[in-house]
Amino acid sequence: MQAQPTTDQILNDLAREVREELIPVIEDPALKVNLEMMEQLLTAAAVRSAHEIAWMAAEVDAMLAYANDVADTLNDAATSEALAAFAADSSDSLHLQDQVQNYSLAGEAFGRALEAAGDHDRLGPAGAQLIRQRRDTEREIRPGFYFPGRS
């Protein structure tokens, strides 16, 4: 396969074309809003294509570590069950769909662990910190965000 320009370079160039060449000449306001959304989505897809497998893999490790800590400390059945589901159904494959499946399975264990941790002195703040890190990653996926067509 032709690997360069990379997927994110191609998507970013499509986004630029929409932003610089199409939006300025479109007069239909409904179509303009759609193109503004499309430009943002192309930019977001570019960021994701460049990083999402690495980001998800790193988050999976962090989420599992936290969920295991909660399961061990609080003996929470829902968290343990979700961890068992990850162990049974996760995959070493680097294909996107498999990584997404791993991410979702680990996310369920993390979510159950957060519910169990609640206001626990140590586990509560630790879970909140992981949530903030997830938020920080989401920020990177929406550079230049604005609401199209709302005025």
Binding site: G111, R112, L114, E115, G127, I141
Partner: protein
């Protein structure tokens, strides 16, 4: 794919057919899709009645199902709009007729009076003085939040506690049924359950109260887009506004939070224990469940191949914005609670 109300070539004749059968003969002079709302399809309709009179209406219905971004109920919206005609303190464009047969337009639809004017958002973007806007804005917000449940045809919860159980339960239900796991949602639901504020009387909640849904007309402001209205805690609208305006400035709360909350308390009769920066933070998070539920439903359906389109895909951006707001609000509230506890 059936275009329904989006079919601008076919809609004028269909509309004329319905009007002739149910109201009076008329000619549709123009039919154009309006922008400004993501969830519903709205079309501006210029009519000439057989009597010679001209009238402009807004036709409001659902997009084709596979393009839907948010779900809401036209029957309930029509019933509410009809009742709001008798609530003098809330100016809203008159809902004139209801097309409850989906076979003609591919959707149920409401014909509403068209009111001249831009959105308050547009006026703010053009430099409207924010300090002078707080008073009328809080008056409108308080007017909505002062309507007792018996005045509108919306189901009323048995109690404030039951309502909160239901709202927080909806957060949990979103996480339970979504195809992809949602640790963010589980985190927020758990936090909401542990930080319930002091109760207040249940009242009308608009559900999407923000400057884009206020039309600045020559005769004053009018509140539109009632599709998410419900009976609930009036602070849900206050919190929703805070979340919305943080993402779509200007934010009147950022401009003068004390002035805003003082005005709101004075106009609703709610106390400082009930309305303060901490409870505002709580409801900033809680109140967005209706929107969030629909956003996740749209993305989940897209992942299963059941929906498509730019609007649905764009939900992924909106959810990230919401998560950002939630984390900020929770961090702010926890810091305030920690400070209060010394």
């Amino acid at each position: 794919m059936e275009q329904g109300m989006l079919d601008t070539a076919a809609m004028p004749a269909k509309l004329e057919q319905w009007l002739a059968a149910h109201v009076a003969p008329a000619t549709v002079q123009s039919y154009s899709i309006m922008t400004g709302g993501f969830s519903r399809v709205m079309a501006k309709v210029d009519l000439r009645w057989a009597s010679g009179e001209n009238e402009t209406l807004v036709l409001r219905g659902d997009p084709p199902p596979e393009l839907a971004t948010l779900d809401s109920d036209r029957d309930a919206e029509w019933a509410l709009l009809s009742a709001l005609a008798g609530v003098d303190e809330i100016p809203t464009p008159e809902a004139k007729w209801y097309i409850d047969d989906e076979s003609l337009f591919g959707t149920k639809a409401i014909l509403i009076d068209f009111v001249e004017g831009g959105s308050l958002q547009a006026a703010m973007d053009a430099g409207l003085d924010l300090g002078n806007t707080i008073d009328p804005f809080t008056s409108m917000l308080a007017a909505v939040g002062s309507v007792e449940p018996h005045r509108v045809p919306l189901p009323a919860p048995n109690s404030w506690d039951a309502h909160m159980d239901d709202l927080i339960g909806r957060w949990k239900a979103v996480a339970d049924r979504n195809g992809e796991s949602l640790p963010f949602v589980r985190y927020i639901a758990s936090w909401l359950d542990r930080r319930r504020p002091e109760p207040v009387p249940l009242r009308l909640v608009h559900g999407d109260f923000q400057q884009g849904n206020i039309v600045d007309t020559p005769t004053g402001w009018q509140v539109v887009d009632w599709e998410f209205a419900r009976i609930g805690d009036p602070r849900e609208d206050l919190g929703y506004y805070a979340a919305y305006a943080a993402a779509v400035p200007p934010n009147l709360l950022d401009h003068d939070m004390d002035g805003f909350l003082n005005a709101y308390r004075a106009k609703t009769g709610l106390t400082e224990a009930q309305v303060n920066p901490v409870t505002l933070g709580y409801f900033t998070v809680l109140s967005t469940i209706g929107t969030l539920d629909s956003l996740y439903s749209g993305l989940d359906a897209m992942a299963r191949g059941e929906r498509h389109g730019i609007g649905v895909a764009y939900n992924s951006q909106l959810i990230a914005v919401g998560n950002d707001q939630f984390v900020d609000a929770i961090d702010g509230l926890e810091a305030a609670l920690a400070a209060a506890e010394g």
